[in-house]
Amino acid sequence: MFVINCPYCGERDQTEFSCHGEAHIARPDNPAEVSDEEWGEYLFFRNNPKGIHFERWTHDHGCRRWFNVMRDTVSDKIIKTYKMGDQKPGVTDV
């Protein structure tokens, strides 16, 4: 049970949030032009690392904003939360 630091509301209980999988997956600019393979990658294929993971959460029972979380999938420790559109942190930023 995490405590999640919503970039807008501050620290709140995990049960106010929900997770929506990997972050920083951009929709192809022109889907018509990508191959079936590339489209399949965009739809389904995900980084699923044992270690640092970037993921999207929403503060459902709060400000209803989407934001990004950088979390270690082994210790489950949240390293950083940041707003959508903010630069993806590098491991050295931590």
Binding site: H20, P31, A32, L43, S75, D76, M84, G85
Partner: protein
């Protein structure tokens, strides 16, 4: 005779308050302050239960939450509770308890036959037999299941109430022994908000039963002063009778408080238990330690108990569990118990496995006339329902062999002490790492992961003075860390009559031969796991601790190995001749003690189980006899039966009313979203499959949404209210999903798009009136010009309806002339009633979802989620017309051109007409070309919707059929489960008013 084992005086019970209770049908008396276990011992009841597998006679082993043996069925009827630890049950007037896992009685238990046959039931025997013939396994299993299990589940609904609580504080301290108390004191004095949790009814922990001093004062009195001071602090909250159950990430701790369990009077308002969810900045673990049993032959007989338990029964409850007592120990500390028993008139002998025993102790034994057998071990015990005799022999610890003559001693009570295991359960749950301490011969906390502190015996320190100083100092440190101005430091001295020397603690000392053959050396008492079973597991290759655990079930009982784990590991270490650290340990998992389901469910039971979402007209529906349907959390009227009507009659009447005159549906549950901003049209173009730029202000349009896989995921009508302003409707079940779908793209993908979405679902109550008379009717109640010319189909108008500011949409889901009147919810019921009243002359008929489904099916309109699942595209539904060819991109478009989505033999949406014109096909039944005598049969598709159509006078169905649109007019068959085969013909999806004139009237 009663309370024959009670001492004349002493103990912390209230001898003035006699309490009557019943055990196994017999009446007994105890005192206020007793536990069931202490009261039974006082009454000389030692045989309390039967073991899991062999049905061995079992008594009371411990005096706390670690008890594996004395677990009983408590209470009667709906309040009965299985597997309750007699050692934790506080006695109350009228308490009734009984032994479990025995038949006909605990004294004569047929199951104990298993014990006689036990030689063929070693660990894992069932894997080796009962395999033949396979068909008989269920038969064998029936008997295995009957023999297994412990107590009985209640068979009536639980009448009690359970509450929950979220709690935040600076510091939570688990354990109200001296260590926890001092930490609380230090942190409390420094101003921290402190939560102190202890599972017992009294604070003070282990030392409450011993003679000791703090700063040269009487220790017990000292504890009382600390407790009083803590109670006087506003910033300290104390929870007694509360067990910390789980320790999760981010210092999240759950605890279960017994609120009224221990009371004889049931409370009308107070819960039985309260489940705490605590988040603290720091957690102090001060849980103390559990005494470890010694492993010897037949070490499980009633009358054999832990030394500290014996001490507790004597000191706290004034109960002398035996008169002729043997202390079996490998450490100094347990001698205190021996001396105290001696003091209270018991005849004592001591068997000590060690060669060198402290000379002061030897001397004291001599002085008191206590016979001391050093370098010795108990090698066998006797006694059917209670121990009555033991054999003692010299042990050569180096060779691990027994030697010399066997001495036989008569006894009625054995007190054993094999050292102490810190209660590391919660620490381990918190991801803390353990280390095996070769001096204490047990696991102790090593690496901390969370913001936590471990103190006292919990930390593997058994020196009182050290613990006092450390605990207090850690309380101060915590306060300092949390930026409080800390209270003064104090120098503590503490002294126990005999302290625990860390000299030698031998977990296991018996010759190997002795273990495997003959009698049973129990490791896990509850699950009947013997040393021989551990040997067997190793021999057969179940060498990993985890395999040993699962193969033998050691540590898997209701005590989760609190008494057995370390002994099992030590034995494995001995067998493999490897350090215990290399053997490792199994995973500690929540909860710390078994935790009531009802408390975890809390008040989310009965009418509060899940919200019933209700529209503003709900009460009217109720008053008017509606039968409701659950749609997600919503309650929707399903149909409105009149007196003797069944569903078919009612639906038929409702359908015809709409087709012939006027019907009304509460459509408020549809999702409604207000969209606004300069990019809204562009946004809708991406969200929906069709195009929006040409939609005029004041017009409505039906739209279909696909997910990125190209599959239909919601639909609804969206209306352009202004240049940049739209009102979107969604399906009832899809409302939340659509809202978050929109937000997802706006917030994460198209950050530059200027669109705001606001949910307005409940702002508007929607009354959908439908039928040829709807215009005439509504015109009487509104100032909006409803004429065909001025308010065409798929248009939107604002105005007064029944004098209420309303939004009216001319859209239709029935195929009839229809208006959807939206009024603010507070007026919903008012307008509905006005409609009902003024509509009388048109025989206005309220209808429910079933009628709505029939009417739209007659028109071939789809219901997302019924006619579609998440695997169909708009083209599969023959809805190519709503898929824009011009738009370059919209969500889902790219997926339409994947090979599988373009397959020509995909299932298509079609109508079905049964050839007998009578049978209403089951929704979900499957279609074949030609039925075979028997399955398997190749399926072409399935029926998605199926009804009797009152207006057409015959059944209609909608279906998904492979390449169906190319087979219109062809015959197919639907084999039913009862063997019947129904013939049907593939038809168009529109059954009624194919030209679509009705809604344009």
């Amino acid at each position: 005779m009663s309370n024959q084992n009670r001492t004349m005086y002493g103990g912390r019970i209230d001898r003035g308050k006699v309490i009557n209770f019943v055990f196994n049908g017999k009446k007994y008396k105890g005192f206020h302050g007793d536990t069931l276990a202490s009261a039974l011992l006082a009454n000389d009841v030692h045989l309390v239960g039967r073991s899991f597998k062999y049905h061995r006679a079992r008594g009371i082993l411990t005096a706390g939450s670690e008890e594996p043996n004395a677990i009983v069925q408590l209470g009667l009827g709906a309040r009965t509770e299985p597997n309750m630890r007699a050692t934790e049950i506080e006695l109350y007037e009228g308490l009734e308890a009984a032994s479990q896992n025995c038949w006909p009685s605990v004294n004569y238990d047929i199951g104990s036959l298993n014990n006689v046959l036990s030689s063929i039931f070693p660990a894992g025997f069932y894997y080796k037999t009962f395999k033949w013939p396979p068909s008989l396994w269920l038969f064998y299993e029936h008997f295995i299941r009957k023999a297994a299990g412990l107590g009985h589940s209640p068979t009536a609904k639980n009448p009690d109430r359970y509450e929950q609580k979220f709690y935040y504080c600076d510091l939570t301290i688990v354990g109200g022994g001296i260590s926890g108390l001092l930490s609380a004191l230090a942190a409390g004095r420094s101003g921290c908000s402190v939560l102190l949790i202890d599972e017992n009814p009294e604070l003070g922990g282990y030392l409450l039963d011993y003679n000791f001093s703090i700063n040269e004062k009487d220790g017990i009195k000292y504890i009382k002063n600390i407790v009083d001071e803590l109670y006087s602090m506003d910033n300290v909250r104390i929870l007694k009778r509360t067990t910390a159950m789980g320790y999760y990430d981010y210092n999240y701790l759950t605890a279960l408080e017994k609120v009224t369990n221990h009371c004889d009077q049931l409370s009308k308002t107070l819960p039985r238990e309260r489940y705490w969810r605590v988040r603290s900045k720091k957690i102090v673990l001060a849980q103390g330690a559990f005494e470890r049993p010694l492993v010897f032959a037949d070490n499980d007989r009633p009358g054999i108990m832990m030394a500290s338990a014996g001490k507790k029964y004597l000191s706290r409850y004034g109960v002398l569990p035996g008169k002729s007592v043997v202390l079996f120990t490998n450490n100094d500390h347990a001698y205190q118990t021996a001396f105290e028993f001696n003091d209270k008139g018991a005849k004592l002998s001591v068997v000590d496995t060690r060669d060198n025993i402290d000379s002061r102790i030897q001397k004291k034994c001599e002085d008191l006339g206590i016979k001391l057998y050093s370098s010795s071990s108990i090698i066998s015990t006797n006694g059917n329902k209670k121990v009555n005799q033991i054999e003692v022999q010299k042990v050569d610890r180096k060779q691990n062999e027994l030697s010399g003559e066997c001495i036989t001693l008569d006894t009625d009570c054995i007190l054993m002490s094999g050292g102490w295991n810190p209660a590391v359960q919660l620490f381990s749950q918190s991801r803390g790492k353990l280390r095996y301490d070769n001096v204490l011969n047990t696991f102790v906390p090593d690496k901390l992961i969370q913001d936590q502190i471990i103190i006292g015996c919990n930390n593997g320190c058994f020196d009182l003075s050290k613990n006092l100083n450390h605990s207090y100092q850690e309380g101060l440190n915590a306060a300092k860390d949390l930026n409080y101005e800390i209270a003064d430091s104090i120098n503590w001295t503490g002294e126990e009559e005999i302290s625990f020397t860390e000299s030698s603690v031998e977990p296991y000392m018996l010759g190997k031969k002795k273990v495997t053959k003959g009698s049973k050396h129990f490791i896990d008492f509850q699950n009947d796991v013997t040393a021989a079973d551990i040997f067997l597991a190793q021999r057969e290759g179940y060498i990993s601790v985890e395999h040993t655990k699962r193969y033998t079930t050691t540590g898997m009982g209701t005590d989760q190995g609190k008494t057995s784990n370390v002994n099992a590991l030590a034995l494995m270490s001995h067998i493999h001749d490897k350090p215990v650290d290399e053997i490792g340990h199994t995973t500690f998992r929540p909860p710390f003690s078994p935790q009531t389901f009802g408390a975890i469910a809390g008040r989310s039971v009965d009418h509060l189980f899940d919200p019933e979402r209700r529209t503003s007209i709900h009460k009217w529906h109720e008053e008017n006899n509606a039968v409701f349907e659950d749609v997600g959390q919503w309650k929707r009227p399903y149909y409105f039966p009149k007196k003797k009507e069944n569903i078919h009659d009612a639906v038929k009447r409702e359908c015809l009313a709409v087709r012939n005159s006027l019907g009304m549906l509460d459509a408020s549950t549809l999702g409604k979203i207000d969209l606004r901003g300069p990019d809204t049209t562009k946004f809708l173009d991406m969200i929906y499959t069709n195009a929006w730029s040409k939609l005029e202000i004041g017009s409505c349009r039906y739209g279909l949404m696909c997910n990125e896989h190209g599959m239909i995921f919601d639909d609804g009508v969206t209306t352009r209210l202004g240049e940049d302003h739209y009102h979107m409707t969604t399906t009832t079940g899809g409302a939340a999903r659509v809202m978050s779908w929109l937000e997802e793209f706006l917030q994460t993908e198209w950050l530059d798009m200027e669109v705001f979405c606001t949910s307005v679902t409940e702002q508007w109550t929607v009354l959908s009136i439908s039928g040829p008379n709807s215009r005439k009717f509504l015109q009487e109640l509104t100032d909006i010009d409803l004429s065909k010319e001025n308010f065409p189909f798929m248009k939107f108008r604002e105005g007064k309806v029944c004098d209420i500011d309303s939004r009216v949409f001319r859209i239709s889901f029935t195929g009839e002339l229809s208006f959807e009147v939206n009024v603010p919810s507070r007026y919903g019921r008012f307008v509905w009633e006005q409609f009902m009243q003024h509509g009388k002359k048109y025989n206005i008929t309220p209808y429910g979802t079933e009628t709505m489904h029939v009417l739209r099916a007659e028109k071939g309109f789809i219901i997302v989620g019924q006619d579609t699942d998440g695997s169909v595209t708009p083209m599969d539904m023959n809805m190519d017309w709503i898929v824009s060819k011009k738009k370059q991109d919209f969500l889902g478009k790219r997926s339409f051109t994947r090979p599988d989505t373009m397959r020509s033999d995909r299932k298509k949406f079609v109508g079905l007409l049964v050839n007998d014109k009578k049978t209403v096909l089951p929704e979900g039944s499957h279609i074949v070309e030609k039925a075979l005598k028997q399955p398997p049969m190749k399926m072409l598709g399935h029926v998605t919707s199926s009804y009797y159509s009152p207006i057409l006078g015959h059944p209609i169905a909608l279906a998904m059929v492979k390449n169906g649109s190319n087979h219109l007019g062809e015959k197919v068959e639907i084999p039913l489960m009862n063997g019947k085969v129904i013939e049907a013909t593939i038809a168009d999806t529109v059954f009624y008013d194919k030209e679509g004139n009705k809604n344009n009237e």
